[in-house]
């Protein structure tokens, strides 16, 4: 079974064969013989190439949180996942929320022309304010939010063309 992951935008293709309580895995020329010793309550005890390794795992949609030997990795399963949907906006540039939070201020209006780097909105989270600036010069084609709105990370805030 081939499984595709992404970690900090880098793709990883894992080749995994599971047979009962044992498995073999290969990725980027590295291989491992794995024995699954215990799997419960979000914890996985493995013997990997003879070494005992304990992992903590959590799932959230396509995302997998893995803590292993004191390090935490957030992996996204990308197999079968359509490439990130990008609506056809004909050259319009989307402005997305850099972090989840509250829209403190919207400093432009639809139809207004803006210069590159101009502050368009201010998003606030956890006592930190972040300016969302125009990536290019253009005209504000649409505004998707109002001041006081709660936004998720990567949510589209505005379109510039």
């Amino acid at each position: 079974m081939k499984i595709q992951f992404e970690h900090l935008t880098h793709p990883y293709l894992l080749d995994l064969t599971v047979s009962g309580q044992t498995a073999t895995a290969a990725c980027n020329g590295e291989t491992a013989a794995i024995e699954i010793l215990r799997a419960e309550n979000g914890r996985l005890d493995l013997r990997v190439n003879g070494q005992l390794i304990s992992a903590h795992i959590s799932s959230e949609g396509h995302r997998r949180w893995v803590t292993i030997q004191g390090r935490t990795f957030l992996l996204t399963r990308t197999d079968g996942l359509a490439p990130r949907a990008r609506p056809a906006t004909h050259g319009a540039s989307e402005l997305t929320a850099p972090m989840p939070g509250l829209v403190r201020a919207v400093q432009v209006q639809v139809g207004e022309s803006v210069s590159q780097g101009q502050t368009l909105l201010i998003v606030e989270a956890m006592k930190m304010e972040l300016k969302v600036c125009a990536p290019c010069a253009g005209t504000v084609k649409s505004l998707k939010i109002q001041p006081g709105a709660t936004v998720e990370r990567d949510q589209i805030l505005a379109e510039i063309e």
Partner: protein
Amino acid sequence: MFQKVLVANRGEIAIRLLRACRELGLQTVAVYSAAEKNAPHTRFADQAVEIGPAAPRDSYLHLPNILAAARATGADAIHPGYGFLSENAACAEAITAAGLTFIGPPAAAIRAMGDKAQAKNTMRAAGVPTLPGAENLASESEFNEAAERIGYPVLVKAAAGGGGKGMRVVRSAPEMTPALEAARRESQNAFGDEHLLLEKFIEPAYHIEFQVFGDQHGHLVHLFERECSVQRRHQKIIEESPSPRLTPELRERMGAAAVKAAQAVGYTNAGTVEFIFDARSGEFYFLEMNTRLQVEHPITEALTGLDLAQWQLRAAAGEPFPYRQTDLTQRGHAIECRLYAEDAAAGFLPSTGKILQFHAPGGPGVRVDAGIETGLEVSHFYDPLLAKVIVSAETREAALRRMQAALSETVLHGVASNLDFLQALLAHPAFAQGQIHTRWVETEFHWPPALPPLTALVAAALAESVSGVPQPAKNAEANPFSPWKSTNGFRN
């Protein structure tokens, strides 16, 4: 002694204070915003009262609602914790005027230290070293003369300033003109005021603070230092005590200065005097005083054996503090790491979400003050501090190893955190050598997040075949892989 204490705070500090009250046999009231009905701190109190909507200004910062909660529950004292209302003199006065005990310093002391310029003058008059500087300068030649007198490098700073805006470092006379122009322009844009002042620029600078404690009977001591130079964007990340920088002689001088600073404003209860330390000259300068309990107070507790939160309550009730300066000693070494909900791999931006798994470390000399638990929703409304891990051991080396072991036992899933970043910091030779100054993390530390080892990929892939893998209860997102989406409501 009062009978019932309302803790006007949230998260880890609310829990810490509610525990202190409970151990002293006091009844407790927790308060919470509409977004935190199920937050862990609400369960550490005898009663819990909702005080308004999620936004802090409508709840945790809204004194009328907090006073109403105190009246409704019959609480006779309020502990503000840190942040929120803790350093607001008007609030302290209003609480006292309502006939309740404010657990903290006198309002006058909060006010005297709250105005930074006034505080600096008060300190100078009291003989506490302050940063050499000059104000009310007009012409360029006046700036140049003042800079010569103070000695380069100097910092040109907006008088109305804050947040690093309108600041320029000037290292020699020819740099003065462009620096003044740029700082004036920035100051005018940010504050509508172009007045500038001059201050000695310390580099490298170390942030060393002293805990002070005073009772209501005129007795005030210091409880030694905390080294807080590991910072990012002026935010502390790791604190330790003793400071690797201080000699016993310096410690005594700085401790005496801290006591003098607190006495100059009639201070009682717990407070912290912050100093900038210049390692090159061995000089230290008053920075500001925090008129409250600090986030990093546990390392002082670990070293002195005192329970500062309990002593805050006891001193506020009028109990004399029984220890003289000579009774107090530092024993061993303590380190605190702050676990923040910020994505260290993505520019340290705040991160929110539901906590899918949280396992705190344990063992001898390990203390965890956490405001989170599995299943909790971390919202963007509040501080990114999720938990503090505090360790103490016989020596600095042993404490460092203990912290590294403790962090590697810690599991936090669902919200991106700085856990791996903390580990990388602790593993750096500069930390082991005690060389980290306040700008080190930003200027000298480069942290590439680790690449996932093969085993991590395998574990992620096996998540499908493992029972009871924590996942959010709501599963709004379509998940083509999830074998247990429709059947498994398991959460642990």
